[in-house]
């Protein structure tokens, strides 16, 4: 069965016959398969019991890495969070702390 991951189907060693016509991609959001979490030099930590679920942290994330379901945020998507720290600065309740490293 073909892999779910785009990089198992098209990658930097693919022969020319397997490159999609005109470099078109026929599915959505394949970037999810690329891990940008590796880039982090600082990491946000969600302190759930301080969080009032005000959600002010969610729209400021450039990396769509604060998932919200039914009006509530959950933990960070560490596969993709780049650790910019904007969320920690906007949190009115000190519910996000930044620590050094991945």
């Amino acid at each position: 069965m073909a892999s779910d991951k785009i990089y198992d189907r098209i990658h930097e060693q693919s022969p020319w016959q397997e490159i999609t016509e005109g470099n078109k991609i026929f599915e959505a959001a394949t970037s999810k398969d690329f891990c940008t979490g590796e880039w982090r030099t600082a990491t946000p930590e969600w302190v759930a019991d301080r969080c009032k679920q005000c959600l002010l942290c969610t729209p400021v994330c450039p990396d769509s890495s604060i998932p919200v379901t039914a009006g509530k945020r959950t933990d960070f998507d560490y596969d993709h969070c780049k650790g910019c720290g904007i969320c920690a600065k906007v949190c009115p309740f000190g519910a996000i702390s930044m620590r050094e490293g991945k």
Partner: protein, 400 residues
């Protein structure tokens, strides 16, 4: 029954557009192709077609919008000339590498500067590396026929490349000739409904187009594009044969005129072939000399082996270029035909002429002197005027 009409080349293209009834046509006026969008705008204004016209503010935007429309899933066309196509340059490459089956009606005109509105092939020859299929015409009939054939070629799954249908500015675009039109329903059936598989507005999938591709992908992408151009060869011939079944008119990569026994051949593109044919008839009738002509119809993909084969028995060949490429040697057709002959180990003598730049006339007597020169060269094996001009004023007797 085919309809006999008297139409200019521009009218013939516009009429074909009306019969095909494409979805979207963005276009910008430029002499001598302006009439094409004008006629189309009139068809639209009178409810004769349901094509949407986009009144773009430049040719760059014309090709950009055509690309957008084609990617979205529409059958999209445009028309232009000369500097208009030069302004599209970047987008020509994008259209081809995105593998979009766009059809462009190109009315060939000299590029600036100086500004000049008359025919030569500097516009399309400059775009010869852009990845477009290029089909040229001698007459209005051929323009019309080529334009109709362009759609099934471009849209074939083995190809998916844009097609440039070229005709000579004013000479065919504005010259009125008798022409046989194919009935509407036959054209519609020949071209078929446009049913792309992948497109932006496809309700059952999401498509992303136009990525940044790093060097690990770029070369493979170009190789895949080359494959489409290779495939285009058979598709062009298949389409021509279907067209012949429908109309009785025969097309190939090029036309061989009086080539069966020819010893001296001219290779040319476009409307000047008609003048050359008149010269051939006169020479053969008055002197019996075996002169012939190869008139290139398909320049991209380039029919290298076929041309070499067609020239395999001649003693001398004159390749006539209607554009400069400033290599300080040959013109584009000269270079490619010569390369084809070299590959086939031809021993024929070859000269390359420049003619008709910026609309300069070429006459029957010009062709007669070309054939005279070929005869001399074949006899003496001394090639004079390797890169010669036709109709050029000069203080020196011979160009180098």
């Amino acid at each position: 029954m085919a309809v006999r009409e008297r139409l200019s080349g521009n009218e013939a293209v516009a009429y074909a557009i009306k019969q095909v009834n494409p979805d979207v046509m963005p276009a910008f006026p430029i002499t001598p192709s302006t009439e094409i969008p004008q006629y189309v705008a009139n068809y639209i204004a009178n409810g004769e077609i349901d094509t949407e016209f986009i009144h773009v503010e430049s040719e760059h935007s014309a090709m950009s919008a055509t690309i957008g429309a084609s990617a979205a899933g529409a059958r999209a066309i445009t028309a232009t000339s000369s500097c208009g196509m030069a302004l599209m340059w970047e987008e020509l490459y994008v259209a081809a590498s995105n593998r979009l089956p766009i059809v462009l009606a190109l009315v060939n005109r000299a590029l600036s500067g100086p500004i000049n509105i008359n025919a030569d092939h500097s516009d399309s020859m400059g775009a010869r590396d852009s990845g477009w299929i290029q089909i040229y015409a001698e007459s209005n009939q051929e323009v019309y026929d080529n334009f109709i054939q362009a759609f099934p070629i471009a849209e074939d799954k083995r190809v998916h490349l844009p097609v440039m249908v070229c005709q000579d500015g004013f000479i065919t675009s504005h010259g009125v000739e008798n022409i046989l039109l194919v009935e509407d329903d036959k054209v519609k059936r020949f071209v078929g409904a446009y049913e792309p598989e992948h497109y932006l507005l496809n309700e059952t999938e999401r498509m992303a187009l136009g990525p940044y591709a790093v060097s690990n992908y770029y070369m493979e992408t170009k190789r895949a594009q080359r494959e489409a151009m290779i495939n285009a060869r058979e598709v062009i011939l298949e389409t021509a044969s279907r067209f012949e079944e429908m109309t009785g008119r025969k097309y190939g990569f090029f036309e061989e005129y009086q080539m069966e026994d020819a010893e001296y051949a001219v290779v040319i593109i476009g409307s000047a072939a008609g003048t050359c044919k008149a010269a051939i008839e006169e020479i053969r009738a008055t002197t019996g000399k075996k002169v012939g002509l190869i008139k290139i119809r398909v320049f991209r993909p380039f029919p290298e082996e076929e041309i070499a084969k067609a020239l395999s028995k001649v003693k001398a060949v004159a390749i006539l270029d209607r554009s400069e490429m400033f290599a300080a040697t040959s013109g584009p057709l000269g270079a490619e035909v010569r390369a084809a002959m070299y590959q086939a180990h031809s021993t024929a003598e070859v000269v390359n002429y420049f003619y008709g730049l910026g609309g300069r006339d070429i006459t029957v007597s010009d062709f007669k002197s070309v054939y005279d020169n070929l005869e001399t060269i074949a006899r003496t094996h001394v090639v004079t005027g390797m890169y010669e001009y036709i109709g050029l004023r000069s203080t020196q007797s011979e160009e180098v």
